[in-house]
Amino acid sequence: MNPLIFTTILMTVLLGTMIVMMSSHWLMIWIGFEMNLLAIIPILMKKYNPRTMEASTKYFLTQATASMLLMMAIIINLMHSGQWTITKVFNPTASIIMTSALAMKLGLTPFHFWVPEVTQGISLTSGLILLTWQKLAPMSILYQISPSINLNILLTMAVLSILVGGWGGLNQTQLRKIMAYSSIAHMGWMTAVLVYSPTLTMLNMLIYIMMTLTMFMLFIQSSSTTTLSLSHTWNKTPLTTTLILITLLSMGGLPPLSGFMPKWMIIQELTKNSSIILPTLMAIMALLNLYFYMRLTYSTSLTMFPSTNNMKMKWQFETKQITLLPPLIVMSSLLLPLTPMLSILD
């Protein structure tokens, strides 16, 4: 793609999300979402083949439906409150519709079906943008309307997401689908604590984005999209295998890595609000996620996966540039002792 055009389109995506995050008028927020959606379609279709076309179409249809539902909720809110400022939502119907719309945009259960298929059909870099940047805008709206969200619906969606994210990823070998299911599960954790303490949602979002960025960078660096090709990294760059191990264990939420911090804080917040069975269930279901991360680590770093003989002397044709990888890895694994600094997020 012409670099100038690509830059323009990328800037439009950024601008769209920024408009969503910084507006106080509901119409501008909707405009921001639409700008974001329209501009990201060419990015998703960087390679022109039927698979990306199918993925982009699915993404467009679901996100457009969600935007329409959002518009309906905005109008109902306008009807009941008479103003367009984003404060809280004044009508329970509008609140439910808005929550469903934002859940569709985020990929929460029961609206999660598009996430694996879209992520699988696009290239690794586009998948990276899809799973990290695109989550920022809907999450910021959820953060802002959090006092008026119906708790039952949100918690049901969150717990079901964690379950689906865990179970759905168990049968996958394609890395992009694994990352998609991991995204569904993490979104579940984030929305579960939204009503109790939105600060923790933001913390979880931050750490999730760091870990997902790291994982995708590591995949891009070894150009691997399946478990099989990931298992050849010991041949190309042996250090990457250790980094993949650490980042995957962090994503699974194992202490003492930083992926444990959001889970710990969320469990603490939920327990302080006297719901005890819920965080226990959530924590146990996160073990499903850990299982397929462990499977990835087994095939990549902890065993030498069977490979044909000519794999052992693999040529590397160009050195891929790894953007920002060392700081990302440090941040996604060693942040746990900084937990007392959470107060800056308030």
């Binding site: 191990l245 264990l249 194992l254 202490p255 003492p256 890595l257 444990f260 710990w264 469990i267 603490q268 327990t271 302080k272 005890i276 965080p279 226990t280 924590a283 146990i284 073990l287 850990l290 299982y291 462990m294 087994y298 770093s301 902890l302 065993t303 746990l336």
Partner: protein
């Protein structure tokens, strides 16, 4: 406490910056020096704890375990030298780094004041152990073993996290020193029953309790020698230590909640001892004997009398040293025959007489011969369980008999009898191996002269 933790952390740069022919020498020497520092902690004033800082303290219960942990690192390094000799240098350094990381987490776990900090470090010990078992184990079954180990422990400990946070909510602080003084009786209700279960299950899985012990034979058998040593000697004791700490907060429910687990432990120790009599795999035999000894510790902790706590602590230390020594002996067999089957390497007394002496001493301490500290531990546990209920003496007596049976079975199969004709070309014992056994045995025998230091905080 930093005077132990910082040198242990600094062992990691030491390994990475050492020259090729100095890595083993450097790390073993410095870890021995660190263990000498930790010996000064044994000087405990009676019953009170030494508070080093807001975050670390040491107590007559945790001091012997700490000394055992630091003592074991040089022994693990000595034991691993042979099977790592053919690996590239970076992998050797990675292995030593894993062991050092595990050691750091273990030291911090045993001295943590805040219970959440204890929990995080308790979980953190899983990661290096998993890497050691899965990356450097020898058979394909190690993948399954690592998964079983990780998931059994995590399933048990996630409810513990929730329980600890809810206790912090109720009582305001999880600092262990404060809880000793603030302790209130736990009222009797359904939710408190679940609280009790959530607190204890993590440690029951770690100990392991008889019904949840499936991960242990797999993990012990598939781990390399340093992994087996640290698993048997220290990681199981983490469960016992945790139980001893947390039962102070859980009264008076323990008096009736403990019954199912007491039954499981009492029956389980007989079952696992009996399984030992039918084992063909040497490491599996030692693993099941670990389950049996730890079942005694569970019985002791759940009865909650001063004598039983003394017995539990003594038994933990004694079993740590004995079990680790037995694994080293089994490993010396494995390195020669590359098989864990017992009958493949029998009649070793004629070929390796000095090693036979170590086998004899290890088996004798395993069956709790007087006056070793194994006997003191077992005797205290048997006596306190007799005072709890007279009938348990039958089961305990049966257990002691069967323990003697399988220990002697192991000794006689490997040492006595005519040697097989295919093993007369094995290498003689290395000085390193003899030193390893001596370093295991000497503390064990010396402690029988002054067992007061390992009898814990109810002495």
């Amino acid at each position: 406490m930093l005077k132990i933790i910082i040198p242990t952390i600094m062992l990691m740069p030491l390994t990475w910056l050492s020259k090729k022919n100095m890595i083993w020498i450097n790390t073993t020497t410095y870890s021995l020096l660190i263990s000498l520092i930790s010996l000064s902690l044994l000087n405990q004033p009676s019953n009170n704890s030494l508070n080093f800082s807001l975050m670390f303290f040491s107590d007559p219960l945790s001091a012997p375990l700490l000394v055992l942990t630091t003592w074991l690192l040089p022994l693990m390094l000595m034991a691993s030298q042979h099977h790592l000799s053919k690996e590239p240098l970076i992998r050797k350094k990675l292995y030593i780094t894993m062991l050092t990381m595990l050691q750091t987490f273990l030291i911090m776990t045993f001295t943590a004041t805040e219970l959440i900090s204890f929990y995080i470090l308790f979980e953190a010990t899983l990661v290096p152990t998993l890497i050691i078992i899965t990356r450097w184990g020898n058979q394909t079954e190690r993948l399954n073993a690592g998964l079983y180990f990780l998931f059994y422990t995590l399933m048990g400990s996630l409810p513990l996290l929730v329980a600890l946070i809810s206790i912090q909510n109720l009582t305001g602080s999880l600092n262990f020193l404060l809880i000793q003084y603030w302790n209130q009786a736990l009222p009797d209700s359904w939710s408190n029953i679940f609280l009790w279960l959530a607190c204890m299950m993590a440690f029951m899985v770690k100990m392991p309790l008889y019904g949840l012990h499936l991960w242990l034979p797999k993990a012990h058998v598939e781990a390399p020698i340093a992994g087996s040593m640290v698993l048997a000697a220290i990681l199981l004791k983490l469960g016992g230590y945790g139980m001893l700490r947390i039962t102070t907060m859980l009264n008076p429910q323990t008096s009736f909640m403990a019954y199912p687990f007491l039954m499981l432990s009492l029956w389980g120790m007989i079952m696992t001892s009996s399984i030992c009599l039918r084992q063909t795999d040497l490491k599996s035999l030692i693993a099941y004997s670990s389950v049996s000894h730890m079942a005694l510790v569970i019985v002791a902790v759940l009865i909650q009398t001063p004598w039983s706590y003394m017995g539990a602590t003594a038994l933990m230390i004694a079993h740590g040293l004995t079990s680790s020594m037995l694994f080293c002996l089994a490993n010396s067999n494995y390195e020669r025959t590359h098989s864990r089957t017992m009958i493949l390497a029998r009649g070793l007394q004629t070929l390796l007489p000095l090693m036979a002496a170590w086998w004899l001493l290890a088996s004798l301490t395993n069956l709790a011969l007087p006056p070793s500290i194994n006997l003191i531990g077992e005797l205290f546990v048997v006596m306190s369980s007799f005072s709890w209920s007279n009938i348990t003496i039958i089961l305990m007596g049966a257990n002691i008999t069967i323990t003697a049976l399988y220990s002697l079975y192991m000794l006689i199969t490997t040492q006595r009898g005519k040697y097989t004709h295919h093993i007369n070309s094995i290498k003689p014992s290395f000085t390193r191996e003899n030193a390893l056994m001596a370093l295991h045995m000497t503390p064990l025998l010396l402690l029988s002269l002054n067992p007061k230091i390992i009898l814990g905080f109810t002495y």
